[in-house]
Symmetry: C2
Subunit: 528 residues, 2 copies
């Protein structure tokens, strides 16, 4: 019997620890060295086949469990993750280079998210219950129709490197898919294999303790792309959750679209999250805005999907003063270890390319790094016309790099916003005198972004009911969905109608009077 | 000034009748001859560009109109279609070969559907309003978050040949997209260009009468595939609605997936809609079931997406008697004109291929056709093992052809069902003694179909709140959606969150107390 907090290097197929042969090692980016205490096994195609078969075999039984059992399972995962104590905190911090305090906060977010989805399962409103009663006297006779949402079936989840807990093995995609009643096969991120094993152990223990079939969860490990590609191509997989790069997300989308049965891919990919400083706000509190901006830009070494990679303001002495303040704040920034050697290298390359662009001015750089994979914050500025004429400047550089676009006037600001690709967020900084300007921008922003903020910063995504962490392409692959918050459950559901079924065959929630506690649309009327 | 009921051969761009040069003609399939009273112009790439530009230009203004205006627009379209009187009935019947009575019924369905979406717009529940209030005392402070659904933007709709009114120019896709607040560009089906022009005139008159921007609707005509392909590829188009063949739907899906910004395609494509005769029902009322089956199979010459192309029953004298009854009913079937020469030819080819398959037995054929494009009903049977080993037998033959699969026992019946691709419907015929059998089949059917019927027939799709006219691939391209009923509006919406926005900038429905009449989720609680 392996203690859940002890690493074995094995992955999980339907509750069993598996793996043998060759191993790979985790990497400590702060030390710039591999972590040799344990080797991790890679899943083979046969392991993938077993995991998908187990998920498919568990799909109907899991979907048919009482919702209370499903909710208890999610609650138990949260409790078991907490039960791992410092072991998982230390391992995740070591594998990600993220500070212990950040990982501790992320654990709270992860467990809170699992419990939120447990309460969402109990809430039941996501079943979207609808009943249209029969009218046999009508010509032609009107049938009895009843509708509920059912789970899609097995879901593939790809762990993200930048949130080794909250967007990984038991992160938002896994929590919402399990809440929807879908078995999950996770392709663990090779940057944090130990963290993934610990979390998977917590999930499997929860399944065992709450009577959930073991096939409802598997974790497959590996370093290359082939196992993930095969997972998305597997005919038993019915949807994909992914958080990562645009390149990675688009690769999965292509595989999913090329299947005999194409499946939805929910990929959260790429955003530069424009921040707009409106004139009165800039004039009234440029200094505070500069501090807030650089704080949001550099937190977590800028490795957030909601990192503010673009700031727009109108030229003038207020903007000059803001840039001077922001520049000083950047120069004071200590370097921070980035998540992986690859992310660090891509950041260096991306920020160097911006610095080498003739029309781009480097405003300031952070303190020179000394550690092996430390990222150095950098702030650029460019004129709006130059930004408009150079499409390269619109791409995300993942890390603490941002471009201030100097606009001649409001019209030029609108031109820039109109040229943006889809974004997760847009932020307006405004005072009362800016209201009309803000009102003019809102319809343009609503077409392009998933979340509009006033007088705040886009980093820090609240997990709740009214959050949308999504946005038009390429922020996500499908702007009709969110990957954070309770609406995320909808991604993994589809409607089924039952026509004239005898009551004995109807799901209990669709029988007369069976809709305990949920708002049901009965003959068109929303009824509690 | 052209009378709305007078054909000009022109298409519509943002309220203007357009077109010049070469013409194509409609075709009367019953006469087997083109309809030469009027020639129809084809839209060019430049026309497409103008239509998409007009749709994009109208998008924000249309989305921001009061919901009551949007609803009045839909109501006015219905009234204007009725105002066309017999002109549109006669034209649609002539262009489709469908009987006047059927087209008259379809007009009722079309106008009812438009009015249902008008009432849905007023209902407002589709806005999915959510409010999470701020908690500044929390660490970290909790922001104020408010969420609503917004329209995706311009939608391309492809008219279907088999419902020249209800699934075409002002059909379900158009009605639900307009209800969602999306401008629509219709690619008219070349099989009914006159019908499309008349309906488009009714839409444009309604826009003009209700103060809706003319760019909210365009109709582009043409006979080839190029204009439709260019429409889906146009960067201003944000979603696609399509009803038609699997080949056509998959072609559009490929174009949509290959865009720089991939977009969702809602294609309703292909189904064989299994009907399962459980033993007690078959034994008790085989004769009535045979009559019902052949009625459902042959109505409208079998040209329905929900046509029962597959019937399963267990071998025995009851099945033999059923087949004899069904065969007699088929033999009595008069031939019926099919929609187009192409559909007729494909039906002939598909049913001939089945007849020529060694293991397939031809049970009966309808009366020999005499008209130019008449389809002849045909009923086949095959053993379950033969069906399982020949993948060709699983494909839809669009028209009044169906295969009865003779199963040795319940296990073989389950094997057949487990091998089915996604379906729009599955139908169970059962008596009380069949309940356990039905219960065992339900979870298998729920994984594969969008609507499950008991003791009815799948043709005839109720337009309401609890209907799902969708299903897993390839029944539709996205089994998470329906193309009929009020849930269809969700296809064209996406969420936007507003974080800490001043009340003055919030949409009125998201201000405190602004949620008149809709159930709103406030701090997690569903509140009326």
């Amino acid at each position: 019997m392996t203690n859940a907090a002890t690493l074995t290097g094995k992955f999980f197929i339907a509750g069993e620890r598996r793996g043998s042969g060759e191993v790979f090692h985790a990497y400590d980016p702060a030390a710039g060295a591999s972590i040799d205490d344990i080797g991790f096994f890679s899943a083979s195609d046969e392991h993938l086949n077993e995991a998908c078969a187990a998920a498919e075999a568990a799909a109907i039984a899991y979907a048919d469990l009482p919702l209370e059992t499903r909710a208890a399972f999610l609650d138990a995962i949260a409790a078991n993750i907490e039960g791992l104590g410092d072991t998982v905190i230390e391992r995740a911090a070591r594998e990600s280079g993220l500070p212990v305090a950040r990982i501790t906060g992320e654990r709270g977010r992860t467990c809170g998210q699992l419990r939120l989805f447990a309460s969402e399962v109990r809430d039941g409103q996501w079943l979207k219950l609808r009943i249209d009663h029969a009218d046999p006297a009508r010509t032609p006779p009107k049938p009895d129709l009843r509708l509920r949402m059912v789970p899609l079936g097995p879901v593939a989840v790809f762990g993200a490197s930048n949130f080794p807990l909250a967007f990984s093995t038991a992160g938002g995609d896994t929590a919402s898919a399990l809440a929807a009643g879908c078995p999950v096969v996770v392709k663990g991120h090779p940057a944090h294999p130990g963290t993934s094993e610990l979390i998977a152990g917590a999930i499997m223990q929860a399944a065992s303790d709450t009577g959930v079939p073991a096939g409802v969860f598997s974790l497959l490990s590996g370093t290359g792309h082939s196992i993930g590609a095969a997972l998305v191509a597997d005919p038993r997989i019915q949807a994909v959750g992914f958080t990562g790069s645009r390149t990675g997300g688009e690769a999965l989308m292509r595989i999913a679209a090329a299947r005999i049965q194409p499946i939805p891919v929910f990929a959260e990919m790429s955003a530069i999250n424009p921040v707009i400083l409106l004139p009165a706000a800039l004039s009234a509190r440029g200094k505070a805005l500069a501090a807030g901006f650089i704080g949001s830009l550099t937190v977590g070494s800028g490795q957030f999907c909601t990192n503010p990679g673009l700031l727009l303001a109108i030229e003038g002495p207020e903007l000059d003063a803001f840039l001077a303040e922001a520049g000083q704040a950047v120069e004071a920034q200590a370097p921070q270890t980035m998540l992986t050697a690859g992310i660090h290298a891509a950041y260096e390359k991306g920020s160097a390319a911006l610095a080498a662009t003739a029309e781009v001015k480097t405003i300031a750089r952070g303190v020179h790094p000394t550690g092996p994979h430390e990222g150095r914050a950098v702030l650029f500025s460019v004129g709006a016309q130059d930004w408009l004429s150079n499409g390269e400047l619109r791409h995300e550089v993942f890390g603490a790099a941002s471009i201030v676009v100097r606009c001649a006037d409001r019209a030029e600001m609108l031109d820039v916003l109109a040229r943006l690709e889809g974004q997760l967020t847009a932020t307006l900084h405004m005072d009362d005198a800016d209201l009309d300007d803000a009102r003019a921008l809102l319809p343009v922003l609503e077409r392009r972004v998933g979340r509009i903020l006033a007088n705040g910063w886009p980093t820090g995504v609240e997990v709740g009911h009214a959050i949308n962490h999504g946005g038009p392409y390429p922020a996500t692959s499908d702007g009709r969905t969110t990957s954070v918050g309770t609406l995320a459950i909808d991604r993994f559901l589809r409607p089924v109608s039952y026509q004239d079924l005898p009551s004995a065959l109807l799901p209990a929630v669709l029988r007369e009077g069976g809709q305990t506690g949920t708002v049901t649309r009965i003959d068109g009327v929303w009824t509690s």
